[in-house]
Each structure stands twice: as structure tokens, then as C-alpha cells.
């Protein structure tokens, strides 16, 4: 059973969109950004966020880089690649198509 706030396949889209607006974020910041910008409605689970990040990295949409934080601990910063920009455009239009289709259904029934 998916939880009510689960992202249902839109996680990739959200991550790509956030990274397109604010380059170089680490995992926790991406999670916070999803939570904050959605008005605390959407929540990315740690358990799904990181495998998704690693998968997108392998796919070449995002790239990662280690930086050293003030605390001395290293963090992994992600940013969009050109391939990721194209992917974002594709995902966005796919999402628009899906939501407008869903809206049409809601209006007519």
C-alpha cells in the first residue's frame, strides 16, 4: 500500500527539477527542498531517495562530487548534467500530459 504522501514515480522529476533550480545540493538538502517547496505535503523517504540518486547518476542525468563540510565530514553534492536537462524536459512534459489527462477525466465524469 503506497503511503498518501508517496511520490508515485514522480521522485525523479522532483529531484531533477530541484537540481535544475539549485545546483550542487547534497542528499539531505534535496530531501528538505522537496519537503519545503511542497509545503510539507510531499516527503522523499531516505530509503528511496538514495537508490534513486545513485540510479540517476549511473544513468548519467546527474553527477556527484565530494566536498568537505565545515564539520570536517565529507558530503556528496549532486548537480544536473546536460543529459539530465533533456531528461527533465521529457519528464516534465510527460507529467503535464499525465496530469492534464487525469484532470480531463475528473472534469468529465
Amino acid at each position: 500500500m503506497p503511503k498518501p504522501d508517496s511520490l508515485q514515480g514522480a521522485l525523479d522529476l522532483l529531484v531533477l527539477k530541484i537540481l535544475s533550480r539549485r545546483p550542487r545540493l547534497h542528499g539531505y538538502a534535496i530531501m528538505s527542498a522537496i519537503r519545503d517547496t511542497s509545503g510539507e505535503v510531499l516527503r522523499a523517504e531516505e530509503g528511496s531517495l538514495y537508490p534513486a540518486l545513485h540510479r540517476m547518476e549511473e544513468a548519467g542525468w546527474i553527477r556527484a562530487e565530494w566536498i568537505t563540510k565545515d564539520t570536517g565530514r565529507r558530503a556528496r553534492m549532486y548537480e544536473l548534467t546536460p543529459a539530465g536537462k533533456k531528461q527533465l524536459a521529457a519528464e516534465e512534459s510527460r507529467w503535464q500530459a499525465v496530469t492534464s489527462a487525469v484532470n480531463r477525466v475528473l472534469r468529465t465524469v
Partner: protein, 880 residues
């Protein structure tokens, strides 16, 4: 980039895991900094291990990673037991190397297709049936006129090519004083076009060069010879080459890959068949005939047509021959012509060594099976020791296939290491063995490349071996039931049963190897101890060729000159030495009766020859200087038995064909003639000096000086005598010099080689089987030490314990030996042709392997028995 990064991530898996952990730790730290509850933040990740695995799996290739993990683990396992691993690898390496080596030899001699277009279309024309010697034989020698008729008969269905046997000739590129040796072959001019060969330089022979006799004195060199003799000098074209009385002109060099159609001999020079007078002789068979069937032509009609043509030719020829019995003639005419596939060429070496090499192949495969059984036993014992580890793996979720993979990877590592070492062994040993086949006057040159064929064989062998010894233990290990294994109560007998079956197999193969080795060794021993009738000690043989045939007087002058040379005791002349490849035979007629079916063999010798050879004169006298051929003869015992019913033949006469009469002046002891493997033939020794019908002495074109030297090493005189011959008479030249001992040894090369290799592999097989037996017994004692401890505590005697730990295994040894015996009896049919006067049913042939195996079994059982009876019941039970 993605695939590459995933492959490279496999190789840095530890770092990957560390990075994933670090990223998560960083995340948790941020979460705590934002004021989340540390425990809750950690819990949000769920099972950290599972998260890590998930992330890992997207970033690398899972199966490759598991393979890598297994390889690392397997390597550690191998290192952990260095001694046993090394023993397993070395025994496997020896076996794999020996198999690869045997394959290289078999491939080079029998399988490798000739480097010509469509070698699969090539056939060699053989005749099979009862030969003039009254025995079934297969031979492929043809007379040129027969070839010409056959070629014309099938010219629309097949292309026939005449190729002479390779000749070791004396030739010169300068003066007669600088003669050298080369392998020369007379070939049909159209051979090169038919084979699709291209010249490396100049041009090749064509059909036009081979149509009229004696008009196209052209020679083509092989690439190998051009390289060795001329350093690839392009100015070689047009150079003259003197051979006998003829001068040839070099017109080209053949492309690199083609070295002739005779595996075992690399041809140096090709000349047209039309350049020898033998092309018109119906009674001289000196060529092989290769047929290349045209595409789409059925074989049988072609064969039938060739057979009919050949038979018609022989019938025509036989009508002019009167000294043959009807039976002999009918048998000869009834021989059938067969087409033998000749994609790999056709050579005498193939004929001589086909069975030997296959027998050798059988031996090495048996040794390989023994080695595999050993390693399988080792792996099974290890799997037993690792039963708990396997059970643990299963209980934390390892699949059955994953465990099979784990054990198989370990096996494959063993096999690969063994294959690497074995490859080096094969690289060295195949040329080593090939080098042992050289006989005097016949330099064997097998081309033994290490190419994709050999590599492919090695790879397939390694894979096969892995499956053979790895799959059983792997399946067994994976079938583990965690509950029973963790309790330590798995049925130990089932595992022992597998090991015992392997022991029985090992013993069976070992028995077979020992049995065959015993047969080969006995063959060699008997053939080399065969009574010779003459003494080869201190004998030097000088083959001489004068520039032109010389009168017997001139030959005798040279012999006399040699007698004056210091270090020489005695000198005699002969047409050729005993055990040279030459022979001359004919039917014999006694008292004018029609000739019988048995051939007599002839050898021309000078007075004193029997004395030099120390061939015992049983009756009569030696030749005198006045005896001539025809006229007088000395015969051997077999001749007297065959033609005079064993009566003393001295003083009697016989007729060799067409009115050549001989009076027998002496009787000598039987001695071999051409080959040690053949029975003793009826032989008539006739005088060296031959006269024609008018009593005039005939000039002689070649002969041999047989020299008995006074020094123990006759070769010390070789270079002196080589110089003395032309000093005596300048027309004479020594073409070849060697000892009679070498010729004698040349007769047993095959037997010596087979015996040597078979004994070697018998030793290896015995050692491996012994190690296997030791391992299994030792393992058995280890497994049953609790039981043995209890038995001893309640008063079992040492003898009883010893019996208990060995009885099962000994039952297996006996069963294995019996199976080996049966295998031996079944296989002996195929190797009978390789044996000489050895009966496979001789008690010694069976008893020796049986006793050897029994002794080895007793010896290897000792340590395990001692270990068993030394078990201290108190210590044993306390440790439990």
C-alpha cells in the same frame, strides 16, 4: 560510460560500500543538526545493510560482483591450504599439459588441414588387399603410367595430382665438391594451381612444365628452405641447381604456409614429375596420387572408375610377367582401390605413428581422469570441512545456484592455474617428443604452432576439467540442509560413498595405464633384445655416390685405400647397409619348377662382408674376388628352410627371374634385412660385382662401405674417412656417414618412445592414485575418529581398527582393478599392431600391474592406519 563505470565499480567494491556508508552518515548528521531525534533519523533509513546493497546494486554489475567476491574468496581458500592446493594444481597441470601436448602432436600429424584451398576435397588413393608378400596390406604407391591413365579416366569429376615420396637428395649450387642435402619432391606441375598456391617470389610450376619428359628443368623452393638456405635472397631466381646429371633452374619460391603435403617432412624443393625417367616405368611405384573431387561429385562412381582403370593397367602389366603363381597374381589384381580423406595430407609418418599417438592420447586422458578424480576427492573433503560455512550461507539467504557458483569458481581457479602451468609444459614437451622421433637419414620436422586451435583445445579442456571435478562437489555442497549441518549430524556416509566410487575409478584407470605401459615396455624390451645374427659394434657405414657409376674395380680400390687408414680394422662393400630403407626382392625357381608364392630378398655384398658384419658362416665359404652376380650366392637359414626344406643348400642352384642362375656357395645365420619388426625373410647375398649377359662388369652408381674400426667410438674416424674416400679416387664422395648402431637404434625409435612415455605416465598415474587413496583413507579416519575412540575405549584391538578403516577402500581397489583389467582386455585389440611378440594374456603382464597397485595401496594405507590406531580414546572423548 555507464557500463564501464559499473564494471570498474566491481573492482573497487569496498570503496563503493565505504562511500555509500559515508553519504548516509553525512545525511544522518544533517538530520540531527536540524534537530531530529538521532535514533529516529537512523531508523528512517531502515536496514542500513539493505540500503547499502540496493545502492550498490544499481552502481555495479551484480553477477560480476558476485563472481569477483567468489574469486577473492576462492583464492583465500586456495592460499589457506597451500600444500594441498599446490599438489592439486601440479597434478592437474601435468595432466592438462600432457593432454595438450598430445593434442598438438596428433593435430600436427593427423588433423590440421593443409594450407590449400578446400583441403576437405582432397583424397589419397590407396590400394588394399593381399600383397605380393601374401599378407593384407594398405599402400599408396603408384606407377606413373597408371596415374596417367587414371587421370584421364576421371578428368571431368576429379583432378588427380602426382606427388613423389620425399627424397633426401644430394645436390649442389656450385661445384661437385660442395654437395649438400635437401628434401626434394617430384610433383605434378598443376599441383600449385589446383591447391590455389601463390608464389612468394618468381613463378610456380604450371601444367605446361609437366607435359613432356625432360624438357622443363625448373625448380620451385619452399619458403622455409629459401629462408634457411638463401636468407631470402631474391637473386635466387635463375640460379642453377645440379642434381645427379641434370641441371635445374630455380624459377620461384612458394608462399610461406605451404610446406608440402607430407606432415612430418618439410619439403625444400619441388620439381616437375616429368624430370625423371621413371615416368615411363610401369614397374616402379614412386608417387602418391592425390585426388581433388570437383564440387558436387559423388565419391563412389569416381572410385569405381579409378579402380577399374587401375585394375586394367595391372592386368596388362601382369600379362608380361611369368614368374608369379596364379594365386599371387589373382590376390594382387583383387586389391581394391580406396579413397582416403587427405585434408591433412598423406605421409609415411602418419602411417607409422597414427596408432602410437592415439595410444599416447589414451594414456594422457586416463592420467587426466585420475588427476580429476583426485581433485574431486579433495574438493569433496573440503566441502565436508566447510559444511557449516555453507549452512550459514544458506541460512542468511544464499541461493542454491549461488553456492554452486561459489564452489565452481574455486574449481575454475584451480583449473585455470593448472592450465597455465600445463600450457608451459605443453609448450616444451610437444617439440621434445617430436624431436625423439628422428631416425637416421629421416629428419622429422613436425610443424607445431601454438595457435587458436591449440588455445581452443586448452580452453575447452580447462572448462571440461572444471565441470568434471567441480560440478559433483558443487552440487553436493549446495544441496546442504542448514538445520542438519549446523547440528553437525549430516549423513557422513553418502559423502564417503562418492569418494569411494572415485577411488574405484581411479584404480581402474591406473590399472589400465600400468597394463598398457607394461605391454609397451615388454614390446620394447623384446624387440631390442631380438637376436641380430650380426654385430653392430664398432661398425661405421659410409654411403658413397660417385659422380658417375664406377666399375666394381674402382669401388674395391677405394675399399683397399680405406683398409690402409690407421684405426680401420676391416672394410667390405655392400649395396646398402642392413636396416637401410632399401630392399630388392623377386620370386625364386628351383630346378626349373615354376616359382612359388614366397619372395626372396637380395643384397649385394663384397668378399669379406660376412666377416666384417660378424655374420656366422654355418657352412660353405665366403665369396672370392672372382665370384660374380649372377653366379654365386650365400643364403641364410630361412632361405634354406623355405626353398630347400631345411636341407643344406650349399652346392645347389636356384634361378632368379629370366635365366639368372646362382650356385649357393655358403650358408649364413639368419639376420634381419630391412626392418626389425618384420619376420626374417629368405635372403640371398650375391656378389657386389655384377656382370651383364656377356660377362662384362657393370658400373655401380651407389653403394656402402662397411668399416669395422679398432676404436670403441667409430664416429671418431668419421671425418677422416670422409676425406679419405675422395683421396682414394676423386670421383667418389661420401653422401652420408653413420654407425650401424644408429641404424639398429633407428629400428626401435617408436617402441622406445612409447615405452618411455608410457612408463612415465604409469609412474604419474600411480603417484596420483596413491595420493588419492591416501587422502580418502586419511579423511575416513578423521571422520570416524569419535567412533574409533569409542571402539578402542571398549577394547577393540589395533588389528580390528586397521581392518575397519581400510576394508571399504580395499574393496574399492579390488573392484577398480577388476574393472581396469576388463577395460585393458577390451582396449588391447586397438593397440595390438603396436606390440611385438607380447601376448596380452601373459601372466606377468597382468600380475605386475595388479601387484604394483596392491603394493601402492598398502603403502598409502599405512599413515592412515597408524593414525587410527594411535587415537587416544581418552583425549578423543574428552575433546568431544
Amino acid at each position: 560510460m555507464s557500463l564501464w563505470s559499473r564494471i570498474s565499480n566491481v573492482l573497487r567494491g569496498d570503496r563503493l560500500s565505504r562511500e555509500i556508508d559515508e553519504e548516509m552518515a553525512s545525511h544522518i548528521e544533517d538530520a540531527i543538526a536540524e534537530g531530529r531525534d538521532p535514533a529516529e533519523a537512523r531508523r528512517a533509513f531502515g536496514s542500513a545493510l539493505q540500503r547499502r546493497e540496493e545502492s550498490r546494486d544499481v552502481r555495479l554489475i551484480v553477477w560480476l560482483d558476485s563472481l569477483r567476491a567468489d574469486a577473492v574468496f576462492g583464492w583465500r581458500q586456495l592460499l589457506k591450504k597451500k600444500a594441498t592446493s599446490a599438489a592439486a594444481i601440479l597434478s592437474l597441470a601435468l595432466a592438462i599439459g600432457a593432454c595438450t601436448s598430445a593434442f598438438r602432436l596428433i593435430d600436427a600429424l593427423l588433423l590440421r588441414p593443409l594450407p590449400v584451398t578446400h583441403p576437405e576435397q582432397l583424397y589419397n588413393l590407396d590400394r588394399q588387399g593381399i600383397g605380393v608378400n601374401g599378407k593384407f596390406e594398405t599402400y599408396d604407391a603408384w606407377a606413373y603410367p597408371a596415374f596417367r591413365l587414371m587421370r584421364a579416366a576421371v578428368k571431368d569429376q576429379a583432378d588427380l595430382i602426382a606427388i613423389s615420396y620425399p627424397l633426401r637428395v644430394d645436390l649442389t649450387y656450385q661445384s661437385d665438391q660442395e654437395m649438400e642435402k635437401a628434401y626434394l619432391q617430384y610433383v605434378s606441375g598443376w599441383m600449385f594451381r589446383s591447391f590455389g598456391l601463390r608464389p612468394a617470389l618468381g613463378r610456380l610450376l604450371t601444367e605446361d612444365d609437366d607435359l613432356t619428359q625432360g624438357t622443363h628443368p625448373y625448380a620451385v623452393l619452399s619458403y622455409d628452405y629459401w629462408t634457411q638456405r638463401f636468407g631470402r635472397d631474391p637473386r635466387v631466381i635463375g640460379r642453377p641447381l645440379r642434381l645427379g646429371g641434370d641441371t635445374f633452374q630455380i624459377i620461384g619460391v612458394c608462399g610461406e604456409a605451404f610446406t608440402g603435403t607430407e606432415p612430418g617432412t618439410v619439403i625444400d624443393i619441388f620439381v616437375p614429375t616429368m624430370m625423371t625417367s621413371k615416368v615411363n616405368r610401369s614397374d616402379q611405384t614412386w608417387i602418391r596420387t592425390l585426388a581433388r573431387l570437383r564440387p558436387g561429385v559423388a565419391m563412389e562412381p569416381v572410385r569405381a572408375k579409378l579402380h577399374a582403370t587401375s585394375r586394367a593397367f595391372e592386368e596388362e602389366r601382369m600379362s608380361g610377367i611369368t614368374n608369379m603363381t596364379k594365386r599371387t597374381r589373382d590376390d594382387f589384381l583383387n586389391q581394391t582401390l580406396v579413397l582416403e580423406p587427405a585434408a591433412a595430407g598423406a605421409s609415411g609418418l602418419q602411417k607409422d605413428y597414427r596408432r602410437s599417438l592415439l595410444a599416447l592420447g589414451l594414456l594422457v586422458v586416463l592420467v587426466l581422469l585420475i588427476a580429476c578424480a583426485n581433485v574431486a576427492n579433495l574438493m569433496t573433503a573440503q566441502a565436508a570441512a566447510r559444511a557449516r560455512e555453507m549452512a550459514l550461507r544458506v541460512s542468511i539467504g544464499a541461493g542454491r545456484w549461488r553456492l554452486v557458483q561459489l564452489v565452481l569458481v574455486e574449481s575454475a581457479m584451480l583449473a585455470c592455474l593448472a592450465a597455465a602451468v600445463g600450457g608451459m609444459f605443453a609448450w616444451w614437451s610437444a617439440p621434445f617428443v617430436a624431436g625423439r622421433i628422428n631416425s637416421p637419414g629421416m629428419r622429422v620436422h613436425l610443424i607445431l604452432p601454438m595457435d587458436w586451435r591449440v588455445a581452443g583445445f586448452g580452453l575447452a579442456l580447462t572448462l571440461g576439467v572444471t565441470i568434471l571435478f567441480g560440478l559433483g562437489p558443487a552440487l553436493r555442497a549446495s544441496a546442504i540442509k542448514p538445520a542438519s549441518a549446523l547440528k553437525g549430524g549430516e549423513d557422513p556416509h553418502s559423502r564417503r560413498r562418492l569418494m569411494h566410487a572415485l577411488i574405484a575409478g581411479q584404480v581402474a584407470f591406473c590399472f589400465l595405464v600400468l597394463f598398457l605401459a607394461g605391454l609397451f615396455a615388454a614390446t620394447f624390451e623384446r624387440i631390442s633384445n631380438r637376436p641380430m645374427g650380426f654385430s653392430a659394434e664398432r661398425l661405421l657405414v659410409l654411403d658413397a655416390i660417385p659422380a658417375r657409376p664406377q666399375s666394381p674395380v674402382a669401388w674395391e680400390q677405394v675399399a683397399e685405400h680405406l683398409r690402409q687408414t690407421p684405426g680401420v680394422e676391416k672394410v667390405a662393400l655392400a649395396g646398402w647397409p642392413i636396416f637401410s630403407r632399401n630392399s630388392m626382392n623377386n620370386f625364386v625357381s628351383i630346378n626349373g619348377a615354376p616359382p612359388g608364392p614366397v619372395l626372396a630378398y637380395y643384397l649385394n655384398v663384397s668378399p669379406g662382408w660376412t666377416n666384417v658384419m660378424k655374420l656366422a658362416l654355418l657352412d660353405g665359404r665366403d665369396f672370392r674376388a672372382t665370384d660374380t652376380n649372377p653366379g654365386a650366392a650365400i643364403v641364410n637359414e630361412s632361405f634354406a628352410r623355405q626353398f630347400f626344406n631345411g636341407e643344406n643348400p650349399v652346392g645347389k642352384t636356384f634361378e632368379r627371374v629370366r635365366g639368372r642362375f646362382y650356385q649357393i656357395v655358403g650358408l649364413v645365420r639368419d639376420a634381419p634385412y630391412r626392418s626389425l619388426r618384420e619376420p626374417i625373410y629368405p635372403v640371398a647375398y650375391v656378389p657386389f660385382q655384377t656382370v651383364d649377359d656377356h660377362g662384362a662388369l657393370q658400373p655401380i652408381g651407389y653403394g656402402a662401405f662397411i668399416v669395422r674400426t679398432s676404436s670403441a667410438n667409430p664416429l671418431a674416424l668419421a671425418s677422416t674417412l670422409r676425406k679419405e674416400v675422395p683421396r682414394a679416387r676423386s670421383e667418389f664422395r661420401v653422401s652420408n656417414i653413420g654407425t650401424q648402431e644408429e641404424l639398429n637404434r633407428g629400428q626401435t625409435i617408436r617402441e622406445r618412445l612409447l615405452a618411455m612415455l608410457a612408463m612415465f605416465f604409469a609412474g604419474v598415474a600411480l603417484l596420483l592414485a596413491g595420493i588419492g587413496l591416501y587422502g580418502v583413507l586419511d579423511y575416513g579416519v578423521l571422520q570416524r575418529r569419535r567412533e574409533i575412540g569409542i571402539r578402542m575405549a571398549i577394547g577393540a584391538q589395533a588389528g580390528d581398527i586397521a581392518r575397519r578403516v581400510t576394508v571399504d577402500v580395499f574393496r574399492m581397489v579390488v573392484a577398480g582393478a577388476a574393472a581396469g583389467l576388463a577395460l585393458g582386455m577390451a582396449s588391447v585389440r586397438y593397440i595390438e599392431a603396436l606390440l611385438y611378440e607380447v601376448k596380452t594374456t601373459e601372466p606377468a603382464m597382468l600380475a605386475i600391474p595388479a601387484l604394483t597397485i596392491l603394493a601402492a595401496a598398502l603403502l598409502t594405507a599405512m599413515p592412515a592406519v597408524i593414525r587410527a590406531v594411535r587415537i587416544d580414546p581418552v583425549a578423543m572423548l574428552r575433546s568431544e
